[in-house]
């Protein structure tokens, strides 16, 4: 457990949703995160990678919602990184809950997919793996520094079905109804990753949440316009703030002809989206989005919604 305190206002906000269970949220937010990896089947088969890691006496535990995802039980971060298998790109160090948005997106081999905010590339490389390096992914980011990291990870993973672009995600609306599927893993206040990066809490404020919420509404609007009719948009964040989650989905439902589908994910404990926050009442369909609290699966916190354009 880390010797830091969460702001009182942070705890106050989530007590409104969780009640007494907020203690669990605090406990898990301060607990170190379990190390997890995703086997990169673009470079090695699942079986061969498991054989190599087993020969190194790695103890792995299957992540129930993704076949190629494993928790590493007996290695620290440095030990995971300093191996031949990591050097070779046979696995990618990826948080277990971050593997969920690509599962909800259900990429197919001939899809034309846009990943609006792709860096560092965890989800892009997973999508490429699920597409068996076929079809096409536009992996976009707005920052050149972040694009360098994205390209590094794509190349290390052997991804060859991706075009990397640098553009403000709000401008994708100029490509009207072009993409089969879009992942908008939106920039956010990152409350869900406190246990990985404690600096998040020093930057945390209601101002940031409100600023992010505005940006996210612009990003989701642009993404919906760029999505084909019948296409799927997966919206995700690694924060628990309703302003950045349900409020954004409520905005999308009220302003665009989209339906929200409830994702089904095997072996994952999750909760429905909330329909009220402070004085705001959201469309009841927002319930079909999912909240993953850190204490539910001992992971980062996440929010995911699956929208289908009519």
């Amino acid at each position: 457990m880390h010797k830091i305190n969460l702001p009182r206002f942070f705890i106050y906000r989530y007590r409104k949703i969780l009640g007494k269970e907020v203690k669990k949220l605090v406990e898990y937010s301060l607990k170190p995160l379990r190390k997890s990896i995703r086997i990169n089947t673009l470079k090695i088969s699942r079986e061969n990678c498991l054989k190599l890691l087993s020969a190194r006496s790695w103890e792995l535990q299957q992540i129930p919602w993704y076949e190629n995802g494993f928790w590493v039980l007996n290695r620290n971060e440095e030990q995971v990184g300093n191996t031949l298998e990591h050097f070779m790109g046979y696995f990618y160090v990826q948080e277990a809950s971050s593997m969920i948005p690509p599962i909800v997106l259900e990429p197919k081999e001939d899809d034309f997919i846009l990943d609006v905010a792709a860096s560092p590339g965890s989800k892009t490389t997973q999508i490429a793996e699920m597409m068996k390096n076929k079809g096409c992914i536009i992996a976009n980011d707005v920052s050149l520094d972040r694009i360098k990291i994205l390209r590094f990870n794509l190349e290390k993973c052997g991804v060859m079905n991706t075009i990397v672009t640098k553009m403000d995600g709000r401008l994708f609306k100029k490509f009207k109804e072009r993409f089969d599927k879009i992942l908008l893993d939106a920039p956010c206040s990152s409350e869900g990753v406190i246990r990985k990066d404690w600096k998040v809490i020093s930057r945390w404020s209601l101002n940031i949440i409100q600023r992010m919420s505005l940006l996210q509404k612009e990003l989701i609007s642009s993404a919906i316009i760029a999505l084909k009719k019948g296409g799927v948009l997966v919206y995700s964040t690694c924060t628990m703030a309703p302003e950045e989650n349900e409020e954004v989905i409520d905005y999308a439902i009220k302003n665009f002809d989209v339906e929200i589908e409830k994702p089904k994910i095997q072996g994952l404990k999750y909760r429905e989206g909330i329909t009220e926050w402070e004085e705001k009442k959201f469309d009841p369909r927002v319930k079909n989005s999912i909240r993953i609290w850190p204490q539910d699966n001992d992971t980062e916190g996440f929010f995911i919604a699956k929208l289908v354009k009519r």
Binding site: F87, G135, M160
Partner: protein
Amino acid sequence: MNIRKMNEEEVNNLLKYFEERFGIKKEVFDEYNFYKTSKKVWIANKSLESVKLEKIYLESLGMHFATINKKRKIFKISTDASQIFGKQATKNIVEITDEKLIDVLRGFDLINFESEAEDGYVLLKYKEHILGVGLKNKNFIKNMIPKERRLKT
């Protein structure tokens, strides 16, 4: 990025070089197209060919495949491409021993290293894994694995 698709002659020259140097058959690349910037060659799945996005700045397309050495009219295959396509190579492969593995992954050159491979670019292989590329000159092999790809400790 100012990038263009390589024409048939350019692709033939590229693949001829890799077949002569490493014994990698042209057919290995049947599913891919090649693109070129001033100094680099890129490889991408053919499915990217049909994509047209107007007025958008491309940072990269597919994977960096090779760097062009214009003076010597040869190509240096990238570490990432070598790890995938090097598995099909039949010659100019240098086998790395257990003792030397960590040194290679950390980016050290190989000094006084005996190998029957020809001088020039060679593939560094440990068991079934192609680690990357070296530049051989007699008994010295310069490690070409980029700094950011090396093991840190």
